[in-house]
Symmetry: C2
Subunit: 416 residues, 2 copies
Amino acid sequence: MTTRNDCLALDAQDSLAPLRDQFALPEGVIYLDGNSLGARPVAALERARAVIAQEWGDGLIRSWNSAGWRDLPQRLGDRLAGLIGAGEGEVVITDTTSINLFKVLGAALRVQATRAPERRVIVSESSNFPTDLYIAEGLMDLLQQGYSLRLVDSPQALAQAIDQDVAVVMLTHVNYKTGYMHDMQATTTLIHECGALAVWDLAHSAGAVPVDLRQAGADYAIGCTYKYLNGGPGSQAFVWVSPQLCDLVTQPLSGWFGHARQFDMASGYEPSRGIARYLCGTQPITSLAMVECGLDIFAQTDMASLRRKSLALTDLFIALVEERCAAHDLKLITPREHARRGSHVSFEHPQGYAVIQALIAQGVIGDYREPRIMRFGFTPLYTSFTEVFDAVQILGDILDQKTWAHAQFQVRHSVT
Amino acid sequence: MTTRNDCLALDAQDSLAPLRDQFALPEGVIYLDGNSLGARPVAALERARAVIAQEWGDGLIRSWNSAGWRDLPQRLGDRLAGLIGAGEGEVVITDTTSINLFKVLGAALRVQATRAPERRVIVSESSNFPTDLYIAEGLMDLLQQGYSLRLVDSPQALAQAIDQDVAVVMLTHVNYKTGYMHDMQATTTLIHECGALAVWDLAHSAGAVPVDLRQAGADYAIGCTYKYLNGGPGSQAFVWVSPQLCDLVTQPLSGWFGHARQFDMASGYEPSRGIARYLCGTQPITSLAMVECGLDIFAQTDMASLRRKSLALTDLFIALVEERCAAHDLKLITPREHARRGSHVSFEHPQGYAVIQALIAQGVIGDYREPRIMRFGFTPLYTSFTEVFDAVQILGDILDQKTWAHAQFQVRHSVT
């Protein structure tokens, strides 16, 4: 059995441990929800102050040029690119994941409309993150061109679902509930063999697991920066398009920031070459600028090191929960196999919502997802082995003592 | 002739003058570009600090509930509503103006597709802000349903252009170049009489001129908060939909924040009732939160008072320029008629770009728009009469001395 002292020893040996000092985490909290909202880099406060006081307050409109606001989506995209196996000039950070999905899905369907117009099916998973399905639904409803969504209930059912009717396969690389991670390369190959295009949502992957979009031969990718990348609440999302596809079509949200010569103010739209055509409107700059503070921390390590620690943390958590909470009705729904596991671990419990509320009340912050899922994110940049140990003891106590049954933990909040 | 002492006297009598203290404007700058990026409310820095340090840093994921992040687009929308004649629960602040235009245009076409499917024309102005035209173009290209854009070259040509083929008329209330202001009520009536729907872009109107969307009978409106509303660089845009139309159709960017029960995580999209269905994805919270600081200042006055001062400022500017710069090749392109004038004034000059650069070098910040247009915004919350006087003297000196001819003022920046 792993003891707390063992965990202290693991922390002492952890070469990533010093990076935690670059995050401002509150006292008395074990934060296992960096998969939902990343912790605050210490530097973010000063960065925002500089943007607000100097760039906005003093620089005023001049800062679009002098402070580099105009090119911030591209500049930050270049800094993020290495974390997902993208090249320079291939990523922009802009808008939201939902909006960016609409752009790439619209573009992918447009590419397929020229290559294989008979293909009118979008394949995804019923367990995909809901907004991805909603966006696909909205696009199909708008188009009224006979598109339909074909949802599979398990990753294993994908191969059979992808046939000659399929235009696009839209998958989230790491499932938001279970933490199941697709084999991006094998799945993309399968998709391409069937003549479809692959859209990958990296919301739970970027900064969490190694991703190599180019190596995998992916076509489109989107994802968010406010989870593992620690960009700040609701910070802008990213979008990547394979250079082979990028200039083939115009994406449907063709706003002025995507124009080849924005300030010519021409009345007709002419897209920029490259990923800049995926820009649309003016970005909230203060929030966008803080994304860099998270990326600065990633620049001090590498995804292979982060992955090693991530797996060690999730292995430890699973082992400790199964030991300490063996008497309780917990069901692991996250793959044990490393190659299929992201950086969060989920257990089902009949009182999952209330257990999570009881944990939060004791300073262990995880989150809850319908139905019955208790979700715990492990972020190697700032989560320690000892925290994992302590969190499991608190979870065990809550289950043993049925603390979750208190009325206060049954109240539903609007955001779970 | 109005003297500088006259202007000092006007400032001394100006009941709005004390509001300037709530803005952090740099020394040595006369800021006449609040129509492009509003000045910084002093309070914005502290608001951002609280969001970053407390709400994000300490509250972490809990702040979606405890700090009210989830409902911030609605709460701020309610605070903005009064400035544009909208009711409570009718406005959200979210995404960008371009994105919001896509939503309302998509919705408007969908409404018309049920009411009058033969109508396939969108009317706008060739001088409309380019991104509005680009977005319409992108939507039409996406739909492939025979829609086309009919552009008129002057407001006077609108009446003839709106016929039984027209589904939607999409206009910017105050023209970004000329400052021409449409009669919203009369134009909306005209649009409705022809069976079309009216989409109003209030980018240069909200906080600049009195707007009464309900009184005018408007159908849809969008606009930005980073200009006259002083929300901060790239701060989120707003969207309003007439309650008579709002629940008729789903807007096309149907992301999870617009879902009736977001955290049920249902796989099918079901729109919220009311304006919340115009939400889509997770918003950059720090930037969004600062919008409130600008609105707080508006709450201390009213649009009628602001309009009186705005017209006094623009009247003064026009009179002084025409007097002081009479020897130069300046052409006023802003209406002299109060009822047709927004809150900025534009003059054409053959060397407009270089003149603006020379002005900026001397601390007078206006901006330039193709072709030849020098644009000066007047924001009654913080622009003084004396500043107008001083700015005109500097402009006169630059023109007299041909300072604009220096090589440094000929260099084109990416953002003009």
